[in-house]
């Protein structure tokens, strides 16, 4: 039986932000009287995560994903509710807790800009008090997994974004954390590097049972890395479960992609069903799950068809549809 490493109950974070004023007069007045409004970044979120799970946080910008992650990592104090990570209260920032977690922030750099990445690794060795043999072993293992042997002696400022992210990942895993928080780990990376990072994270999880929690804008990240997703919007949890379950719950349609022998008029096709893509000889229909076989049969009898492909709705489409308010 697996044990839960993260227990979040009614976690809430409200920020008090000054109301921005427009114009010189208003700016002058705001010097003396400032108005504030409360932003509910996270509102009573609860969930638990078990050891070795890989969980993705999905949601649009400002949904509260990163704020939740920061409360779990001990960067932010919750306004109310409780968070327990590995038996610790993160906001107390106990040394024992910090020794067991790590966080990679896609837009923040923990390496030293002017110096090679290895220097930052040596510093982390001191920070976490990693014994030399263990440090050497972990480092060479991580270097091999990410194939970064050639760039370790190059000053960080001369590395590409992808190379830098790989070096960041190594820095964050040197002390063998039990829980790894990743905030947009593949942001701005090229496709090859994204793939490499995803493979790497799966490998680390498989080998060391590290619990991984990530936020990402890239659905591919979540689909490739996570077994479970937590969907958040406006600070509240909308869905918590498997990706398959999410597709079953929200993806009530299937796609029929048809290659015709010769071009067919779009108008004619629109009369049969909802066309989402059209290229003359190829068209894609969106059709409800229960009707898709009937529609396929109808098309096959009416037209000469070269190929017919039935596809599941992509996670990305569901998210897009969901967050643009057309459930």
């Amino acid at each position: 039986m697996s044990k839960s490493v993260i227990e979040i109950k009614d976690l809430t974070k409200h920020f008090k932000v000054p109301v921005k004023t427009v114009g010189f007069g208003a700016s002058l007045r705001s010097l003396f009287v400032r108005k504030y409004k409360t932003v509910k970044a996270v509102e009573k979120i609860s969930f638990s995560i078990e050891e070795g799970e890989m969980v993705g946080f999905l949601g649009p910008n400002g949904a509260g994903k990163t704020t939740t992650l920061k409360m779990m990592a001990g960067i932010l104090y919750p306004t109310s509710g409780t968070a327990q990570v590995l038996g610790y209260t993160p906001s107390e920032r106990k040394r024992g807790f910090q020794q067991k977690i790590s966080m990679v922030m896609g837009q923040k750099n923990q390496l030293w800009w002017d110096l090679p990445a290895t220097e930052a690794y040596e510093l982390n060795k001191e920070i976490y008090g990693i014994p030399t043999p263990e440090f050497k072993e972990t480092l060479s293992e991580l270097i091999a997994l990410l194939s970064v042997e050639d760039i370790l002696q190059t000053p960080v400022r001369k590395l590409s974004l992808g190379q830098r992210m790989k070096c960041e990942l190594i820095a964050s895993l040197l002390h063998r954390p039990k829980v790894l928080f990743l905030d947009e780990p593949t942001i701005g990376l090229d496709l090859m590097t994204q793939k490499k990072v995803r493979e790497f994270l799966r490998e680390i999880n498989r080998k060391t049972k590290t619990t991984v929690i990530l936020t990402s804008h890239y659905m591919e990240d979540v689909e490739a890395i996570c077994d479970r997703v937590i969907m958040i919007d406006k600070g509240q949890k909308l869905y918590d479960g498997s990706i398959k379950g999410l597709i079953a719950k929200y993806g009530n349609e299937k796609y029929l992609q048809i290659d015709f022998d010769s071009p067919v008029d779009r108008q004619e096709l629109e009369e049969i069903g909802r066309v989402v893509e059209y290229e003359g000889v190829r068209a894609t229909f969106a059709v409800s799950r229960k009707d898709h076989t009937a529609l396929a049969a109808k098309i096959l009898t009416k037209y000469k068809v070269d190929n017919l492909d039935i596809q599941e709705v992509k996670l990305e489409d569901i998210i897009l549809k969901h967050f643009s308010g057309q459930k």
């Binding site: 001990g74 104090y77 966080m103 922030m105 220097e119 001191e126």
Partner: protein, 262 residues
């Protein structure tokens, strides 16, 4: 502490990446004491002394203030403020590691480089203008000086840390830093020896921590302190009070912290 020594070494390596900066530090090291000595020399004119300070006293005073600055002072409040403002402290909040200590150790790196560069300049100036000065150094005084420098550096660092963490409340910390900087120069005896300033400034200075940063160690070195133990005791008291205040503010600040940025 090993980790902060590593930060110090890393920052030192960074210093050597920018060689042109080294030349600038050399010029700064040279200019400051020379200008001050020239000003006081012209004020002295034909007089042998002003308020107990003759020409060689002034030379020694400003040279030792310059050297003390490299030992004691490291202006790092801006770094801390920036780190809080831009969310850079996030990375240290998740580690057993202090962003304030990092800033301090990092700042000390260029101080050491500057010290190394300024020592020949100081020696030259001393040889040219102050060599007739009769320094009395005993083991007791040397030990008192060492403790006083450590305490002075701690007071300086704690004030810098306090200025830095006001970034939890204010958007910019540099205006506060500037104000404190002016007060430090005036009441801390960097501008001129305190005994040469108007009596009311000397009276105010007694109630502020600034004179215990540079002025106390420099005067100890010059043999101008009547009761070294008393002065060191006050320094120690300031270190304690400022430390407690700093810990309190840090805790309050983190409660307000919004963890800006990714």
């Amino acid at each position: 502490m090993k980790k902060y020594f590593k930060v110090f070494l890393l920052s030192l390596s960074t210093q050597f990446q920018y060689r042109s900066n080294l030349v600038m530090w050399l010029i700064v090291a040279f200019l400051e004491p020379v200008v001050m000595v020239m000003v006081w020399s012209s004020i002295l004119g034909d007089r042998p002394e002003i308020g107990g300070y003759g020409r060689s006293d002034f030379v020694l005073y400003y040279l030792s203030t310059t050297v003390a600055w490299y030992f004691v002072g490291g202006v790092f409040s801006g770094r801390v403020g920036q780190a809080i403002k831009q969310g850079e402290i996030n990375k240290s909040l998740i580690k057993p590691y202090s962003v304030v200590m990092e800033a301090m150790a990092g700042e000390q790196a260029w101080k050491v480089v500057s010290l190394a560069l300024s020592l020949p300049v100081v020696a030259l100036l001393w040889h040219l203008f102050g060599a007739d000065y009769n320094l009395q150094m005993t083991w007791f005084l040397a030990l008192a000086l060492l403790v006083s420098i450590i305490f002075g550096a701690s007071i300086f660092a704690l004030i810098e840390a306090l200025i830095g963490i006001t970034a939890f409340w204010f958007v910019e910390v540099w205006p506060i830093g500037e104000v404190i900087g002016v007060l430090r120069n005036l009441f801390g005896g960097i501008l001129a020896p305190l005994t040469l300033l108007p009596l009311y400034i000397q009276r105010i200075a007694v109630y502020l921590p600034f004179k215990y940063i540079f002025y106390t160690p420099v005067n100890l070195f010059m043999g101008r302190v009547e009761n070294p133990l008393r002065e060191i005791g006050i320094q120690g008291l300031y270190v304690g009070v400022l430390y407690i205040f700093y810990k309190y503010l840090w805790k309050q600040g983190l409660r307000r912290y919004e963890g800006i940025g990714g």
